[in-house]
Amino acid sequence: MLLRFPESHVAAVRSMAASGTSSVSDRERVSHVVRRLGVGANALSVSEAATIDDAIASMLDLRTPPAPMPGFEPPTDIESARTQQDIQIPLSHWLEQMVLSPRPIEERLVWFWHDHFATSTRKVRFPYLFWQQHATVRQHGIGRFDELLGAIAKDPAMLDYLDGRTNQATAINENFAREVMELHTMGVGGYSQDDVVAAARAFSGWVVAPGGDDRRRLPDAEPWSAVFVPVRHDTGQKTLLGVTGNLDMDDAIEIILDQPATATTVAAKLHEEIIGLSPTAVTRQRLGAIFRADWQIMTLIEEIVADPIFVSDAAVRSRVRNPVERLVGIVQGIETHPQVGRTSMAILNRVGFVPFSPPNPAGFAGGARLLGPYQLAHSLDVAGIVADPAPDYPVDEIFARLGLFDVSEQTRDVVAAPPDPLSRITLAAASPEYALT
């Protein structure tokens, strides 16, 4: 992608041993800001930012309008709705946005919320539902958390994944009720089993309107939308987290949002996503209070980013780079093979990291669980996405294109050793420096 690369940018790559210090260089710190606030490495953005403040401003800049979502006609019958190939429609759009979007923070947040409100093709067999959900996450991902949560509770993919669509007065299903409190909001421990049952009863009655031939069952509903069917709703008194009444879904969501643990838990998770370190108890409370005031996600992000610890040495390379981040960073910086899309999917599939296909409702594994021998050995698979013949970049330019500036002498030697460009690029992308972000 980046066919020309600024000389000065390449010159900034330094061997850490040679510089005689382990502290973080200015360019590496700018690259850190860019990696954490977008998806991938966005090497061009790193090269364009003169200072850390410039980098932060450009990554948070949302003035360019978002790219329109691709068209996806609602499937007319169940058979065609299950065409698994169709998942490529939202998936390709999404991966392209991760690589190219001029609204980097939006991509970071879309990824984060997709993982936070995980649903998976391993269970939900209708690609159209993921397209709908992706649009919802894009719509609210940089907006308000209360609105995002409310929309997700009524999202058809979520209603299918966590069984809300089967949850009815005569057959209460606890799945979504438990996970919304445990995983999406308060965290385990702040509610009882009675609260799970009360929430499930409040949530009862929502279904996904069928498409095609089955439409006669809900003739007025838009196919594949979430619909409230009053006869399926439990209208009895419920007591959820101390509040009693004939509660419905909106009431239950409001009660859950009112729990202080909701704001602190979600804000702390975002803090870890951006900074890579757990917040202190004081920071947790402070962020929670700010978040709860109006649920504005960007206000919270600005608060997190303003914390000096964000650009501190401790934060740089304090997270394990996940397979999507690895891949996107390479595609952003390195000239790619025409089959990059197909090969990327194969690479992500091999390590169990395909977007829309997390392994369970808690989303993808992170941290040390991404450093298993299988995942590390397969970090070399990225050879398949590099253009053939591989571009013959000088070694320092390879590093700069991957957003790596502080590189150990050993890494530099290993990458510089092979005589062919493909090996050099592949090794840089499989280096210990690139394994972290």
Binding site: I87, Q88, S120, D163, T166, Q168, A171, N173, E174, N175, R178, E182, V188, G189, Q193, V196, V197, R317, S318, V320, H337, T343, M345, A346, N349, R350, V351, V354, F356, S357, P359, N360, A368, R369, L370, L371, G372, P373, Y374, Q375, L376, A377, S379, L380, D381, D388, S408, D413, V414, A417, P418, P419, D420, P421, S423, L427, S431, P432, A435, L436
Partner: protein
């Protein structure tokens, strides 16, 4: 692979020949050659292998919470049919008049007849909170509400430590917290390509690429923090890959990766891989198979759980067919785990999260029969859940004491009753010439 125009005189082979010492890594007493090239390399002999070294535990993790009441069916209890309604399994294979196995567990039922199947009922842990994730942590660590090292990681620390890179193997894409220890390390693989990267056909020397990658492992100084963790994980990967490539033969027509989910993997393919490892010279002490199925059957349970039981049975059968053909079936025990059992009553189309579960332990050395105690279906807790009768640490303690031959007290931080489900007496060792990694 295309040669850069500016260095036409250096061929890749010449280059690699000149790479010399940097391509070989010396780690923890092993001399490691270039990947995939050196199956009969010299390795440091492992001295006293200690108890349990000639046996393997194969653990099948049924993630999502297996509905034990549909696997080990209390069909002699009328209350079961009241609670389960249309979800009750009415055609279970009877074991003893009071319980039966799911009808799709046909091979497993055969093993019952051969006295090779222990059925352990009522397994749970105190104060269950019905959460997948805290229950999984409880099972992984062997400590209720636990954080930190896995119970099998502690077992490996106490026995092989850092000495044996392939003592614990996960079949699945990533490491399992159950096997993570302080010193020992855990390999994860998904298929018989082992730890070979999948590079495109235009990379004509993939082994050489990986040999160069091994250079990252050869860290001159111990790097601190996360960076050090990565370089040491690369180091371990290189060691493990070398040993694995000597024993795994990739099939010619490997299935193409699918777009989503587990692709072509099934429990049968995973268990066949586990069997291949067990009968190889690697002799792992523990193989943990994870990522099998979605047992979280809140909905559509009747068909989903039946399919999972078929897959479970096929997996167990595939495993034993291979180890029996190799004459190794007396060195293995297969056992199941799951974070919880499910709610006693049906929710209409499925079952919600529950507490106690039943588990299966299979092998030639197993003393077939029933262990533990069936939970009383007429005496449930306030949430309508089974009250456990066997602490899950008793289940672990039995595996540790009776099969792996280590005192469970050191591993589980406490003393628990053992069940006597695996035959006493030491398995005849494979002889003093027991080999590992080609060492004679």
């Amino acid at each position: 692979m295309t040669m850069p125009p500016e260095c036409p005189t250096v061929s890749r082979r010449q280059f690699l020949a000149g790479l010399g010492a940097t391509a070989a890594v010396s780690v923890a007493g092993y001399s490691v050659g270039i990947w995939g090239r050196n199956p009969a390399h010299a390795a440091t002999p492992i001295g006293d292998l200690g108890p349990g070294a000639d046996r393997t535990l194969v653990l099948i993790e049924m993630g999502g919470g297996n509905d034990a009441l549909s696997m080990v069916v209390p069909h002699g209890t009328a209350r079961y049919f009241d609670l389960r309604g249309n979800l009750a399994v009415s055609d279970a294979t009877d074991l003893d008049g009071s319980i039966g196995l799911h009808p799709n567990l046909s091979y497993t039922a055969e093993r019952w007849k051969q006295n090779d199947l222990a059925v352990v009922e009522g397994i749970g842990y105190p104060d269950p909170d019905l959460s997948h994730f805290s229950s999984m942590a409880t099972w992984w660590t062997g400590v209720p509400g636990g954080l930190g090292a896995g119970w099998l990681g502690r077992y490996l620390d106490a026995t092989v430590g850092a000495e044996d890179p392939l003592a614990g193997i996960v079949v699945g894409p990533g490491p399992s917290p159950a096997l993570s220890g302080e010193e020992s390390f855990v390999v994860s693989i998904q298929d018989d390509t082992g730890l070979r990267p999948s590079v495109p056909e235009w990379v004509d020397e993939p082994d050489e690429l990986t040999a160069m990658w091994a250079g990252f492992a050869n860290s001159p100084v111990d790097s601190p923090g996360l960076f050090g963790q990565v370089t040491s994980a690369i180091e371990q990967t290189v060691v493990a890959a070398d040993h694995l490539s000597a024993v795994l033969t990739p099939s010619e027509d490997a299935p193409a990766p699918q777009a989503q989910g587990r692709g072509a993997r099934t429990l049968a393919t995973d268990m066949a891989l586990a069997a291949q490892l067990v009968i190889s010279d690697i002799r792992p002490r523990v193989v943990l198979v994870h990522g099998f199925g979605d047992f979280d059957t809140h909905e559509g349970q009747a068909s989903r759980h039946a399919d999972l039981m078929t897959e479970l049975d096929d997996g167990i059968r595939a495993f034993f067919e291979i180890v029996e053909a190799a004459g190794a079936s007396d060195r293995v025990v297969v056992a199941t785990t799951s974070e919880f059992g499910r709610r006693a009553a049906s929710n209409g189309s499925g079952t919600d999260h529950g507490t106690a579960g039943a588990h299966l332990v299979i092998g030639d050395r197993v003393q077939g029969g029933r262990y533990g105690e069936s939970p009383d279906l007429s005496s449930l807790d306030n949430a309508g859940n089974l009250i456990h009768t066997v602490d899950y640490r008793s289940y672990y303690a039995s595996i540790l004491d009776e099969w792996l031959e280590v005192g469970h007290q050191d591993i589980l931080d406490g003393s628990f009753e053992t069940l006597g489900m695996i035959g006493a007496g030491h398995v005849a060792p494979i002889g003093a010439t027991w080999k590992r990694f080609g060492v004679r």
